[in-house]
Each structure stands twice: as C-alpha cells, then as structure tokens.
C-alpha cells in the first residue's frame, strides 16, 4: 500500500496544475505562486509523500482543494453510494450470468446457447458510456419510467446513507446497476461456460453419471460447485475493472459515489482526494483477496482438508 501511495504521488505531477482551478482569472501570478507554496506543491515528491504518509497514519487525509471539505468526510459520504451500486450490480451479474453460463455449457450447440454467447459479447463490445446513454435515452427520456441521474431519495442511518429503503432509491439504482453489471455478466458467462466444459468431462462426473445420479443434480451440485473456485479468483481480480467501469457508470448517471468524486478530482487536480482514493482502493484489494481466500474454503471441500 505504501508503494501504491508513492506511485500515485509520482503520477500526480503529470495530471496538471491545480492552481488555475482554485483562483479566479483576476488573481495575480504572485498570489498563485504563494498558494502553490502554501499547499506544499513546490516541495519535492519525497517531501510531499512524507507529509501525506505522516498524516495518513494519524487518519488525516487533508482537505479537498475543490470542495474545501475534509477528504475523510467526503469519502464517508460517497462510499455507501458506490458500495450499494457495486453490490447490486455484482448480484445482477451473478444472478443472470451463472444460469446463462451453465446453460451454454450444457447445451453447447443449441441455438439459444449460441445466442447467449453472442449477446454476452455485445455486452463487452459496446463501451459502457454508450450503453448508459442508450438506457437513459430509452427508459428515462422516451418511456420516462426511470430517473436519469442521481440516487433518488436516500435514508440516512447516521453512519450510512442508503437508497435501498425508498422507491425512488431503487428506481435510481436500476439503470446504473445494469450498466455496470453487463460487463461483469459477460465475463461470468464465459468463465462458467469454459470451466463447466472442463469439469463435465472429468472423471468424477463420469462416476456420478455411472452411479445414476440425476443430470440436474450432477450439473448443479457437482459440476457448478467445482467451477466456482476459478470463477471467484477471476472475479476478485476483476474488481479492478469493476472500479474502472464504476467511474464511467457513475459519471454517466451522475451517481454520487467515489468514482465520480475521483474522476472530478482528476479533472480538477484535487490531489488530496486522488491520493486518499487510491489508498482506499488498494485497501479494498487487500480485503477482497482475503475474502476470496476464505471463500475458497467455504466452497471447495478439498481445500478444507488441507
């Protein structure tokens, strides 16, 4: 994580100059220089990095240049939005992706399976922003069924704001969640199919068949279970791209999550937000790798014995 933070700091040198966004056009050059000095932007990367780590250890991430608010508060405000969106979209992706994957593996040559495969490909061949805009155009503007931006009404639980408790919150979630889910879904369908095909030809499935077990029971309790291990590994790995695509989805739907916060921070060169965000993402990665490892044991009995 230290490495992440340091690389991040090295990168910020190339993102642009924050000062022009922080002052008006009539502000003199000397004052701009002064501000730059005060913000510590004239120090070397190493010094800036030292400051940042020193503060971060104490749980202090500074104040956003642009929004003039402590980064901690901003991220706490935005995190629930992103998490709820990611969870729902992961849920959709699994709910639709797994059955589709199983089906395409079992009925490999049927027309429906071929159709599913083609459909899933369209999911990854259209850029996310285009899918988002099309959804907005169709369901938001033409049919006017769903809200086109934001989170709708949220309920504040004190430490968490949720959109799950209101009708408008759910309505607002649908389109962004689908947009974000499509890419993950494609991946899951293809992975499950490939792994299932392998597993179905393995010996123990043949034994199961020989024992006269029902086809359905074989496919789901034996074959599917064994395919899940590699699937979970890859999904864990794909969190990176989930985050990358969440940035796009959030900016298309003006979803008030961390991705939107981050992309605007890049645009306005809001260094405190960028560094805190990257650190948080690195932390999330560590966490996910941990969860993935635990899940292995839960799913695959062979691992438990070791």
């Amino acid at each position: 994580m230290l490495a992440v933070a340091f690389i991040a700091f090295a990168m910020f040198q190339f993102v642009g100059d924050p000062i022009s966004n922080l002052v008006g056009q009539d502000t003199s050059t000397e004052e701009r220089e002064q501000l730059k000095q005060d913000l510590g932007l004239n120090d070397s990367i190493v010094v800036q990095f030292g400051h940042f780590i020193g503060n971060a250890v104490q749980g202090e991430f500074g104040k956003s240049y642009r929004l003039r608010k402590p980064v901690k508060e901003l991220i706490a405000e935005r995190f629930p939005a992103t998490l709820e969106l990611s969870l729902l979209s992961a849920f959709i992706a699994l709910l639709v992706g797994i059955p589709m994957g199983v089906y395409t593996a079992l009925r490999r040559d049927s027309w429906l399976a071929q159709g599913f495969m083609t459909l899933s490909l369209i999911g990854i061949s259209l850029p996310t922003f285009l899918i988002g805009i099309f959804l907005i155009l169709f369901f938001g503007v033409m049919l006017q069924w769903l809200p086109t931006f934001g989170r709708g009404e949220t309920v504040d639980l004190g430490w968490w704001t949720t959109g799950f408790l209101t009708v408008s919150g759910w309505k607002s979630l649908i389109m962004p969640a689908i947009t974000l889910a499509i890419f993950q879904m494609t991946l899951i369908v293809r992975l499950i199919r490939a792994e299932m095909l392998e597993v179905l030809r393995s010996d123990y499935i043949k034994f199961a068949r020989a024992r006269g077990l029902k086809e359905r029971s074989i496919s789901f309790s034996h074959a599917l279970k064994n395919t899940l291990v590699p699937v979970i590994t890859i999904i864990g790995l794909q969190i990176g791209s989930l985050i990358a695509f969440a940035i796009i989805t959030e900016s298309v739907f003006q979803w008030p999550g961390m991705g939107l916060l981050f992309i605007q921070a890049i645009e306005e060169v809001d260094i405190p937000i960028m560094s805190a965000y990257l650190l948080l993402i690195a932390f999330v990665f560590v966490l996910i790798n941990l969860i993935v490892d635990v899940l292995y044991y839960a799913i695959d009995p062979r691992l438990r014995m070791n």
Binding site: V4, L121, S125, R190, E198, A244, I248
Partner: protein
Amino acid sequence: MVEYFIDLRQRFFASDIWWSFKSSPLVVIAAFITVIIIFSSVFASYVAPYNPFDLAQFDLMDALKPPAWMAEGTSKFLLGTDDQGRDVLSTILYGSRVSLLVGFLSVIFAMIIGIVVGLIAGYSGGWVDAVLMRIADVQLSFPAILIALLVDGIARGLLPKNSHDELAIYVLIVAIALSFWVQYARTVRSSTMVERTKEYVQAAQVIGLPKLLILFRHILPNVMGPVLVIATIQLALAVITEATLSFLGVGVPPTSPSLGTLIRVGNDYLFSGEWWITVFPGLALVILVLAVNILGDWLRDALNPKLR
C-alpha cells in the same frame, strides 16, 4: 521462436483445428469479417473515398450531412458526414486502423511483459515470485486512466515536441499494455508452475541447459494456448478501453480519430438527431469485437483437447 511457429504451421493444416474451423459456419463468417476489416483498414488509403486525416480535404460546410439514402443525404457521402464535414465511412476505415493498431500493439506489448514476468515468477518461485506478484497486485489497483496520464506526462517530458498525433497513440498503447499485462502474468505463472515439475523440464535441467533456453524453448510453447485465448478477448477490450479513455479525455487527438474517439464525439450528437455520427462507428466496433471474440472462443475450444 521462429522454428516453433513454422512447426505450428505444418501441424496446423493437418490438425483437428483446421477441421473444426471448416466445420463451423459461424467461425468461418467471423474469420471472413475479421480479415475484411483488417484488410480494409490497413489499406484504408486505397479503399476509403476520402482521407479524413488530411485537414485540407474536407470542408466545414459539408458538416452533418445524413447518410445517402436519407432525404437530405448526398451520394458523395454514403454514410453521411460528421460535425467537421468528414465522410463517416472514411473516418470509420481510418479509425479502425488506429483502433486495430492500438489494440494489436498493446496486446502484444502486454503479452510480452506478462509472459516474461509470468515465466520468471512461475519458474523461480520464492521471493522473486512474491515480489513480482505483489507488483501485479499494486498494478491492479490503478485505473487505466491514471496510468495513461502518467505515461502521457512522462512521454511529453522525455520525447521531442511537435509530435502529439503519433505520440498520443503510443501513450495509449503503453498505458493499455501496462494495465493489461497482469492477466497474462498470472496465467503464465500458474501454467509454468505446473510445467516446472514435469519430467521433460527436469531432464533438461539435469543435462545442464541454460535457464533461459529451458524457459523459452521448452516451457513457453506449452503455456501459449491460454495466452492466445486471453489475447483475442483482450484485443477487443483494448479497443474499448481506448474508447473509454478518450471518453475521459485521454485519447488520440480528434484530428486523427480512432473508432473510440468517433463514438465519443458522436455521443454529443445522440440527442440532436445526428445518430449516424455515433451509430455507424459503434456498429463497426461491435462487429469487429464480435468477430474477433468468436474466433477467440473457437480457438479456446479447439486448442483444448479435452473438449473435442
């Protein structure tokens, strides 16, 4: 390496792969389309009616003409013109060239990094493996856009000025490659770890062959299968990532647009009714990605002996 590919070719026509290729009409169509797209974009300067990259060739007064079959369209521009008066058909052909160049080069670049890292990590094990895989983890937590910004900044600092057009493309290639290599590395590493324990490798070690030779001459050919499969999917992904990056403002310059840039620019005209500016490049991108992926799927199945 060369011998390996010659060998591969000889085996190819005699193999089941060729047979399975011929027997699936979908795959044949996909291959046909891929070849056509690659051909027409490589030779875009001969195929396309205009050269949209030559700024003197188009006129702002021709801007926003609808496709030829619509009421206000003209036969001069089959698929209409964009906001600058460029022929959409020509920009698609030239744009595909940029997209394919970015796609192919970034995938090859990522593949090389990934294979080398994966081979070394898998073969050496121990702390080398641990360090390399941690680097891979760190890499994953950076969104491609930040990597692109970094590469862009460094390139501008190091390279001579006055070459933004070409520079932007290479920045994209390097950035995409840098965010893609991890998957290859992980795949190659796990296969290498399996191969390492096999007898032929141990035999080679016993007779004292150099490490590099063992790695590249013996292990590499045996781990190439999954790598090629990932590559076909990532080719599509690279093209889309490039489009996404240009949506976020870090793409190729609008004066020499890629398919992605065209879609991004056309995005501005979705509400105003000039749908052809974005729909045709979008369609071209979908067809290209679809065709390449169908080939990739087929290759994955065909290379896996257990599935036949």
